[in-house]
Amino acid sequence: MRAKNYFVGAAFALLAGGMAHSAMAQDIKIGEINSYSLLPAFTEPYRKGWQLAVEEVNAAGGINGKKLVVISKDDGGKPADAQTAANELVSSEGVAMLTGTFLSNIGLAVSDFANQKKVFFLAAEPLTDAITWSKGNKYTFRLRPSNYMQAAMLVEAASKLPAKRWATIAPNYEYGQSAVAVFKKLMSEKRPDIQWVDEQWPPQGKIDAGPVVQAVAAANPEAILNVTFGADLVKLVREGNTRGLFKGREVVSFLTGEPEYLDPLKDETPEGWIVTGYPWYSIKTPEHDAFLKAYQAKYNDYPRLGSIVGYQTIKSAAAILAKAGSSDPEKLIAAAEGLSVPSPFGEITFRKIDHQSTLGAFVGKTALKDGKGVMVDSSYKKGADYLPGDAEVEKLRPKD
C-alpha cells in the first residue's frame, strides 16, 4: 500500500509521456482504430491502403491546405479497449473524427461512443446491419457494403439456381447469424419453393470441420450457403473437398472471393462457388488502374480488399473534412450526408437516409488458375441497387 503513490505516479508519467508526440496544431487529425494485433491478415493490407491515401491527399495539397495526419490505434479485438482508444484519440489527441474498426461489436461500441460524445465516426469495415439501421445514430457513417447488401447481391445470383434444398454453414456469432437470416428471408421471398434442410453453427475460429461437413452432407442439400471465412473456411474447404461435399452441389459463399480469404486456399480452391469478393486482377477501369498502379508502386505487393477499404476510408474522410471546412461534428455530418466521392470502384455516395455508402462489391465464381484461386465471370454490383426502399429504411432506423 505504501508504494501505491509511486506506482500511480509512474504509471501516469508513462501515459503522459506517450502523448508528447502530438502533431502540430495546424494539422488535421483523424483517429483510426482497428484490430491490428488480432487480425493482421486483414489489417496489414488495410493499413497500407490508408497510408497510401494519406500520402495522396497530402501530395495533392492536404485538406484545404492543411496537412492530414492519421493517428492509428490497436483495439486488440476488444470493444472495451476500442473505447479506451477512441477516448484517447478524442480527448488527448484532439482528432477531428474517428474512423476504422473491423469487428461488428467493436464498430457498434465505437459508434455508441461517438453518439454519446458527439464525435463524427466513419466505420470502415463492420458489416452488421445494426450499425446503420436498428442501432444507427446520426454521428455514424459506414463505408463497406453491409450484410444485407452482400446478401442481396448473392441472392440475385442464387435465386436463379435450380436448387431447392438448401443448407447453411455459418459462424455462430452476430455476423453469421444475421447473414444467414437476411439471405434466407430474401431468398424465400424470391423463391417460395425453397426448403431449408439443415443449418450448422460452428463457433467462430473453432470449427470442427469433419463432423460439420458430414452433418451437412447427411441432410443431402442441393445447394449450400457458406458464411465462414479465414481459418475456418480453410478447414471447411479441405474437409469438404476430401469428403466430396461440394461435388454436384451449388455453393454460395460470403466474402470468399476476397484475396484475404481466397489466396490461402491455393490449389484447394473449390471451383464454381458463387461469391462476393475483389478480383483486383480483372478490374479494368481507369479509377481502379490508377489505384492499382499507385499501390503496387509503393508496396511491390498486390492489394487485398482490406487495402481498398483502408484507402477509401481515408479518401472519403478527407473529402468530408474538405467539404465541411471545419472539424465541427455537426458540419461534418452535414457535409457527409449525400456526399459523392470517387473510389477505385467508381463514384460512391454516403446516403442521407441511413448514412450507408453505396460502395458495392464484386460477385463472381471461384476458379482455379495455375494452382491459385481466382474469381471469374465477376461483375461489379453497385451498392445503391441492393438497398431496401426508403420507406423500409425509415422503419428500420430510429429517429435521430
Partner: protein, 629 residues
C-alpha cells in the same frame, strides 16, 4: 447407418488431435504442477515450423521427416524455456508459473506474425493420405484414419514408457507425490526438464500434424489451449488414459450433438466438464489429491494489519490519487477510472485466492454479471444510476452464490476449472440469448447520469468505491471470518477438526468475492457505456489472475499494485505499439524472474530483511519451508 459409423470415425479423428496435445499437458501438470498456459503456443510453433520445413523438403520422407523434426525442434525450445525460465520459479507460490507461461504465450503470438507474416498459411497434404476412402457411399478422409490409428499408438508408447522404464516409474512417482520422490534423492531438476520436453514434444507433434487439415495462423494457440485443459481435467489430471477417454468423449458428443443442436459446439466441452466435476470431483480417471503436507509458507511472514504510519501513507496515496483531476485531462481520468475499476476486480479475486486459497479461473463471470445487471436495470427497467449501481452487483452475487456452492466442493485446479466452466456457461448464455442480451453485439447506451458523467466525477466515484472495497476486504481479512477462512486455506482437516464449517466459510468468501467483482463490473458498464459478452470472457479472467499474481499472492493487498501496474502498462502499450503483446509478455516474464513473489511480495520481503538487521539464518530458514511446498 453408414452415416453414423462415419460420423463416429470423424469424431475419433478430432479426438486424436485433441489427445496428442492434451496428453502432453497432462504429463507436465502431473509432475511439475505447472499450469502450462504456453502449451497452446508450443502447439502453434510446432505447426509453423512444420509448415516451413514441409515447404522446403519434398517427398514422403521430407513430409514426415519435417513433422518429426518440427516436434523435436520445439521440444528443444521447451527445454530452453524450462531451464532458463521455469526452473527459477518452481519454488514461487502456486500458480506463479502460470504467469510466466502466460507471458511467453503473449510473446509467441506476436513473434510468429513477425517471423511468418500475417497471412493464414495452408500447408501441404500428407503424401499417401490425400484422398478419401469410400464407406458405403460415405467418404472418410484417409488422413483421418491415419490420425485415428496414431492416437492409440501414441497412447501405447506412453504407457510403455511409463510402465516399463525407470524414467516412467519416477514420473509416476512424482505425479503421485513429488516431495517424497525428492526426499528419496531423485534429481528433480532433470526429471522436470525431461518431462517438460516430452510434453512439449507431444504438443508440437499435435500442431505439426494439423498441417494437412488446418490453416496455420497466429491464433491457433488460444483456439486449443482452453479446450485441451478441459480435456485433461475431465480425464483426471496426470492420467494419460483419462485424457484419451475424455478426448473421445468430448469429440463424439460434439460430432453427434451438432446433428440435434447445431449451436452446441460453443459450450459443449464446458458443459461436459461441469457435469463430470460435479459428479466426479477428480475427473474420470483422476485420484483424490493426497492431503497437502505443506507447511503454510505464510507463517514465515505473518500477516498483520497496517501500522498507523502505514495507514497514514496509504491515506496519503489515496489523497494524492484523488488530486488527479486537478491536473490531468479527460483521457487520463478515464484511464484512471478504468484502473480503479480493475483494482476492485483484482482485489476481489485476490481475496478469494490469497485469503481463501481458492484460485478461480472464471472470476470474470461475476464482473460481467454485475455489468449485465446494470445494463438490464438501466435499459429495461429504466432505473436511475444510483439504484442500478446498488442493485446491479446483486446479479454477480446471485451467480456466485449458485456456482460457488458447487465449486467449493472441489479444491485446487479442479476448483479452478469448475469456475472456468461456469464462467463459460454464463458467457455462452450472454452470447447466444440474443433477444435479451443482444448477443455479441452487446447492450449499448448504458451511460452515466449527469452528476457522474464528467470524467473527473466518475473518476472520484470509481476511486472512492475502489478504496472502500479495498479497506472493507482488508478489514475482513483480520476479522474472525478472515481468520476462519485462512484456516481453511492452511489446513482443511484441522479447520474442520476444531468445528469450523469449512465449506460454508469458503462459500461465503466466494459470494463476497463475486459480489465485489460485480461492483467492479457495474462501474465498468457505466464507464464504457456498453456491455459485451467479452466482459465475462476467459481473457478477462486471465487478466485478473495476472494482476493478482503480479502483485503477489502471498500478500494482503498486493493485487492493488498488480492491477495498477498491469492495467496502466497494458493501456499504454496498446496505445503506443502494435507489438504490445510482445513487450507486455517480455515484461511479465522479467517480473516473474526478478520478483518471484510478485511485486508487493518482493517489496515486503526486502523490507522484512532490512528490519532484521542481523538475521540469524532467516533466509536459510525460509528456504526449506518454501521448498517443502
Amino acid at each position: 447407418m453408414a452415416f453414423y459409423v462415419v460420423q463416429f470415425l470423424t469424431g475419433l479423428a478430432s479426438a486424436a488431435s485433441l489427445f496428442l496435445v492434451a496428453s502432453g499437458l497432462s504429463i507436465i501438470f502431473g509432475v511439475t504442477r505447472i499450469v502450462n498456459f504456453a502449451h497452446g503456443a508450443f502447439y502453434m510453433i510446432g505447426a509453423y515450423i512444420a509448415f516451413t520445413l514441409t515447404e522446403r523438403l519434398s517427398g514422403a520422407f521430407g513430409f514426415w521427416g519435417s513433422i518429426v523434426l518440427a516436434a523435436i525442434a520445439v521440444a528443444l525450445i521447451g527445454v530452453l524455456v524450462e531451464m532458463v525460465l521455469l526452473r527459477r520459479i518452481y519454488h514461487a507460490p502456486e500458480l506463479f508459473q502460470l504467469l510466466a507461461t502466460f507471458g511467453l504465450t503473449l510473446m509467441v503470438e506476436d513473434l510468429v506474425v513477425l517471423i511468418w507474416g500475417p497471412d493464414d498459411l495452408v500447408g501441404r497434404r500428407a503424401p499417401g493420405f490425400r484422398g478419401a476412402i469410400d464407406f458405403f457411399g460415405q467418404n472418410i478422409p484417409s488422413y483421418d484414419l491415419f490420425l485415428i490409428g496414431l492416437s492409440p499408438v501414441v497412447l501405447g508408447i506412453l504407457w510403455l514408457l511409463f510402465q516399463r522404464t525407470r524414467w516412467g516409474v519416477l514420473v509416476r512417482a512424482a505425479t503421485q507425490d513429488r516431495d517424497m520422490v525428492a526426499a528419496l534423492g531423485v534429481n528433480q531438476k532433470w526429471l522436470f526438464t525431461s518431462v517438460f520436453a516430452v510434453g512439449v514434444f507431444l504438443a508440437a507433434l499435435g500442431g505439426a500434424l494439423q498441417i494437412p487439415r488446418d490453416a496455420v495462423h497466429h491464433a491457433m494457440d488460444l483456439r486449443i489451449i482452453v479446450e485441451v485443459f478441459v480435456v485433461v481435467v475431465i480425464g483426471g489430471l496426470g492420467s494419460i488414459v483419462g485424457a484419451f477417454v475424455a478426448a473421445v468423449l468430448v469429440s463424439e458428443l460434439n460430432a453427434f450433438g451438432i446433428l440435434i443442436f447445431p449451436k452446441i459446439s460453443i459450450i459443449l466441452v464446458f458443459l461436459v466438464m461441469a457435469v463430470v466435476l460435479i459428479v466426479r470431483p477428480w475427473g474420470l480417471f483422476g485420484k483424490p489429491e493426497a492431503p497437502a503436507r505443506k507447511t503454510p509458507g505464510l507463517t514465515v511472514n505473518p500477516w498483520r494489519p497496517l501500522t498507523s504510519n502505514e495507514r497514514l501513507a496509504a491515506l496519503a496515496a489515496l489523497v494524492i490519487a484523488a488530486t488527479l483531476p486537478l491536473f490531468a485531462g479527460n483521457y487520463l481520468l478515464t484511464v484512471g477510472s478504468e484502473i480503479a475499476i480493475f483494482v476492485i476486480f483484482a482485489v476481489s479475486l485476490h481475496f478469494l485466492m490469497s485469503v481463501g486459497g481458492l484460485a478461480s479461473f472464471g472470476h470474470a463471470a461475476y464482473f460481467g454479471l454485475g455489468a449485465y445487471g446494470v445494463a438490464f436495470l438501466a435499459k429495461m427497467a429504466g432505473l436511475p444510476m444510483i439504484v442500478c449501481l446498488l442493485l446491479g452487483p446483486l446479479l454477480g452475487c446471485m451467480g456466485a452464490a449458485v456456482f460457488g456452492f458447487f465449486a467449493v466442493q472441489l479444491s485446487g485446479v479442479y476448483f479452478a476449472m469448475l469456475t472456468l466452466a461456469f464462467a463459460q456457461i454464463v458467457w455462452s448464455i450472454a452470447f447466444q440469448w440474443v433477444s435479451v442480451t443482444g448477443g455479441d453485439n452487446g447492450i449499448l447506451g448504458v451511460w452515466p447520469e449527469k452528476w457522474a458523467a464528467s470524467p473527473s466525477n466518475f473518476y472520484w466515484l470509481a476511486l472512492g468505491v475502489a478504496a472502500l472495497v479495498t479497506v472493507a476486504l482488508r478489514a475482513m481479512v483480520f476479522s474472525p471470518f478472515g481468520y476462519a477462512l485462512r484456516a481453511t486455506r492452511d489446513s482443511l482437516l484441522r479447520t474442520e477438526a476444531i468445528g469450523i464449517n469449512a465449506k460454508r466459510i469458503q462459500w461465503t468468501a466466494f459470494v463476497i468475492a463475486g459480489t465485489t467483482a460485480g461492483i467492479g463490473g457495474a462501474l465498468f458498464a457505466y464507464l464504457k457505456g456498453s456491455v459485451f459478452p467479452d466482459n465475462l470472457g476467459i481473457s478477462l479472467s486471465v487478466d485478473a489472475l495476472v494482476m493478482v499474481l503480479l502483485g503477489g499472492v502471498e500478500t494482503v493487498s498486493g493485487a492493488v499494485i498488480g492491477a495498477i501496474v498491469y492495467k496502466a502498462l497494458n493501456i499504454w502499450l496498446v496505445s503506443q505499439t502494435d507489438l504490445s503483446k510482445l513487450v507486455l509478455g517480455g515484461f511479465i516474464m522479467l517480473i516473474v524472474v526478478v520478483f518471484p513473489k510478485g511485486i508487493v511480495g518482493m517489496l515486503e520481503m526486502l523490507a522484512q530483511r532490512r528490519k532484521k538487521a542481523s538475521p540469524p539464518g532467516s533466509p536459510l530458514l525460509a528456504k526449506p519451508i518454501e521448498s517443502a511446498e
